[in-house]
Point group: C2
Chain length 251, copies 2
Amino acid sequence: MGRIPPGPRTVSTDLRISEIFGPTIQGEGALIGEPTVFVRTGGCDYRCVWCDTLHAVDSAYRDTWTPMAADAVMVEILRLSGNTPLTVSLSGGNPAIQPLGDVIALGKPLGYRFALETQGSIARDWFAALDVLVLSPKPPSSEMTTDWDMLRACVDAAGPDTQTILKIVVFDDADYAYARDVASRFPHLRIVLQPGNPTPPTRDGHEPVVDIEATLDRTRALVDRVTQDRWFNARVLPQLHVLLWGNRRGV
Amino acid sequence: MGRIPPGPRTVSTDLRISEIFGPTIQGEGALIGEPTVFVRTGGCDYRCVWCDTLHAVDSAYRDTWTPMAADAVMVEILRLSGNTPLTVSLSGGNPAIQPLGDVIALGKPLGYRFALETQGSIARDWFAALDVLVLSPKPPSSEMTTDWDMLRACVDAAGPDTQTILKIVVFDDADYAYARDVASRFPHLRIVLQPGNPTPPTRDGHEPVVDIEATLDRTRALVDRVTQDRWFNARVLPQLHVLLWGNRRGV
């Protein structure tokens, strides 16, 4: 007697995708320099005043976000990477809004690794399936407010098998003090400090030329601060992709 | 009856130190952005044509190298770091020439971590006491010849408790092919590719202004190459300290 064939795998069809591009290198944080394909979801629960990915945040861009099923996303990752496994960077917007667990479940058996970056305002059980969770709570200069309980829920959701790393953007002294506060709340997590982009893309879609010297100035100042304060488990890294490609999208 | 007091701890007195400086950040490789104190030894068995630390290599600078005992080196590390543990970067010249095992033995109980970078031409049993061993065999553009057996002996000496990472400087196509060859010989090791400094310090001690745009151009070209070849376990990182501080020494 034949076995009943399994029904079609249920996959979500409600992912809103702003862009999928690569392979390029990760420009930020602990994975800096690593080849990656980016999956950028559309939609965000935050409106940081210095947001550098408004095209994936502002609802004015909503008609540029494509509804995709998880398997269609994975097919595009496979196409871009030539079926050669690499680390996929899930970004946004806030990718935690979207049900990305199915994409991870499809990719991991094929050898793909998954890193997700979020502000930590929404916790998901599928964070535990990630290889790397980058929590980037937003400092005072963003004009957003941190929900500390939710940030902790994100850390807890990731659990012991996911590498969880903090990343804080620092524009000014208040941001630096905030970063120290975050670090003191999560002393067991590694933390990366990233100088803010002095010339981010503007709300009208303009991509200004990056002031490289100003970016390097801010990096130097942050290095001075960290070393003077002997904050030796912090790491200071500029946005390498901004140095390499400016504010251009899709690289 | 009283115990016989232990004799003074035997420490080597024959370290030749070019400079000890920091804290600053590590500008290269897998530890990029991490606060560190550098211990640069004097003397090298190589003469890479594009060497950027001739003051620690060329015997013309020999009278600037200070003979120091291991405990004196550790005292200086403690002073610079304000007794706050961090990662110490042992560099050169070729630091594997020097008996640095005693410095590591003094620092580790105090919580200090040790990373050493060498071309892999000399293997030492104390590599196994390192936290990180960066093996940076030199590509054809250096005009040096790799001793593959010795490079493998370095990997073996480090053993399973030390994180061993490859780093290859790439100036041209032949260097890139060399990097691929190295990777194929050590498929289990992570590898970082670093574009060569287009404007290194000169033999007469001149420190030319770094051509940042040329450095970024070379980084972009290397990213393109790696992603086109789907070499996804390589990592591409520029020399961050060169971008931040040019060819200046002591930062």
